[in-house]
Amino acid sequence: MRRDISGLILLLVMPAALIIVMALIQDAPFKDYKELKFDLLLADNDHGSLAAQITNGLKHSKNFYVTDSLDGKPITEAQLKQLLNKGDYKIGIVIPSGVTAEMVNAANIVVNDIAKRTGITTTMPTRELRGQMYIHLYFDPVSKPSFRTPIAAALDKYITYSSTNILMERLSMLSKDTTTTTTDKADLSKIMQGIGLKEEPLNDKGDLMLHINSVQHNVPAWAIFGMFFIVVPIAGHLLREREDGSAFRIALIPGATFYVTLGKIVFYTLICTVQFMIMLSIGLWAMPVWGLPALYPGLHPLLLLPVAVCIAFTATAYGLFTGTIFKTITQALPFGSVSVVILSAIGGIWIPVEILPESMQRLAIISPMHWSLDAVNQVILRNGDLSSVLPSLAILFAIGVLLWVASLIISKRQNRPI
């Protein structure tokens, strides 16, 4: 080990760099859009109460920085389109002239209808409806649909809220004109908010239940990827030993092959386990330094040790297998690295398996990295105990043993000492 300190350091530094970079890059995509704040251009051609409510609502929201004037002058629709086209802003809304009047008219018609049905003689002034009016929403042309949809939904919510407010206001006016109700405007608003939607934790762990975020996904995922990348040095090491003859020497010593192979497995398993623990430590303590949330290790963090050992064993066995089935380094190394990338892609390292196409989800079970990530997620996302990780660990261990036994058989058949 001390013969190649720089190699050992690289084995730890490269995955560390990988998890930090990947967590930072994927931080925004992993965040709910509700957690982000966007610049929004607003052109108000209406100047009515509905427009004012929408503008104020957006300005006070946690999601938008509203810009409705440039150089002290209100933004025009033409300016708004120009700025979006240039890519200076991502979102713009134009409130057309007359939208408040149209909304008030529609509300009055509804109120009059209610009054008529309930026998109230009071009527609000109305005119004929001019058809549906739209508040225009514009996006920077390069915005992806995955960005547009939640933004449009959030803005629609504000518009609906403002429209409801106007309706409530008109209803309040009706109630003031009669003695049939004591409900004032504030009360009506409260009544309308009486039923809402609130997300609750899945079990009694309460606040300890976490949503997946960039750190919770990327730290274990890329740590596992890094562990499996040990396939490359192991395969290279085995082939070099075969080429320089030292493997032949071991093959000549009675009973040595088994112990030497076992020694390699124990050593590399240990290295990979240490590597995983260092990666987790980075998640726990270094991620906040980069402005990311700290890794949450679950309610049973000690379970991560047997999980890491099991993953490390399987990764090592895969390295032995790769080093055994190929004759030369030039065959083994490209296969080792590319197969790890492919297995990581199907195993949900890059993108969680849940959002992969169904066919790919079915394919995921062949990837040891899928079972590795599943075991880690049981601990750090679902607060799982030993019984919840055992199925994944059993499959991982079985894959590892299978690869080891296959390596021994192939090595004997092909006369290629491990």
Partner: protein
């Protein structure tokens, strides 16, 4: 009992046009240095690999000190010391680290390893270089270290595959002197070589193998004497194997 007994061994590698060994039979008496000589591709290395249990023959039998090479290979491996053509050592480790590791795998105690290593290092002129990495050794030093690694468990039979190929004159002389001395300890040595003068110099007996078949065997001087128009062992060799160049490919 013969040290080595080979009976009608046949071996054909997958995809090869001809058999590597085609009914090869051969006997090696105990406490002798025996040279197995043959042109490229004659079957020398295949014979040695079968004796060490590295490969299995298609048919025939081989025995070392009465033990079956196919059935009792683990016991046989304690009896033989194999010095392969390639330097079968860990290049990143020092010679001493290599010997300690190999000795431990043979189940030797640290004290035994140290005693034997010290003696062998001294005898083969590496005592001042024991703590240098094998990769830093010259070709001759590597060859000598390769021999030491095969002798740590004090085998009864030493099998060497071209042990002096590509080494300097001094290293070669040291290796040959050592082999003669080792034989004097009542050990048997089987070795292959392309160097006829070397075989003539140290072998009690030589056997010529060609195209996987036994050709002739005997004491070098006897062979020279009994073969027409031959003054040296090389003449005998060319007489029986011909002058056609044997190029081999894998």
């Amino acid at each position: 009992m013969f040290a080595i007994e080979i009976k009608d061994i046949r071996k054909k590698y997958k995809g090869a046009e001809a058999s590597a060994l085609d009914g090869f039979s051969f006997l090696v008496k105990q406490q002798q240095i025996v040279g197995l000589l043959g042109p490229n591709g004659a079957g020398k290395t295949t014979t040695i690999s079968i004796l060490c249990g590295i490969i299995q023959p298609d048919s025939g039998a081989a025995f070392i000190l009465g033990k079956d090479c196919m059935k009792q290979i683990q016991q046989i491996r304690y009896l033989i010391g194999m010095v392969p053509q390639q330097i079968a050592l860990f290049g990143n480790l020092t010679a001493m680290e290599n010997f300690t590791y190999i000795g431990r795998l043979y189940g030797l105690s640290t004290a035994t390893i140290n005693t034997r290593t010290r003696h062998l290092l001294e005898r083969l002129g590496l005592d001042n270089q024991a703590h240098k990495r094998i990769n830093a050794y010259s070709g001759g030093m590597k060859r000598r270290a390769n021999i030491i690694a095969s002798l740590l468990h004090e085998p009864e039979i030493l099998i060497l595959d071209e042990p002096t190929a590509g080494v300097d004159v001094q290293s070669r002389a040291m290796i040959l002197d050592f082999l003669k001395e080792y034989r004097r300890q009542n050990k048997t040595i089987l070795y292959t070589s392309h160097l006829m003068d070397e075989a003539e110099q140290i072998c009690d007996e030589v056997a010529i193998i060609d195209e996987g078949r036994f050709v002739i065997s005997g004491a070098p001087k006897e062979l020279v004497k009994n073969t027409v128009n031959c003054k040296r062992l090389e003449d005998v060799f060319l007489h029986y194997t011909g002058r056609t160049v044997r190029d081999t490919t894998e």
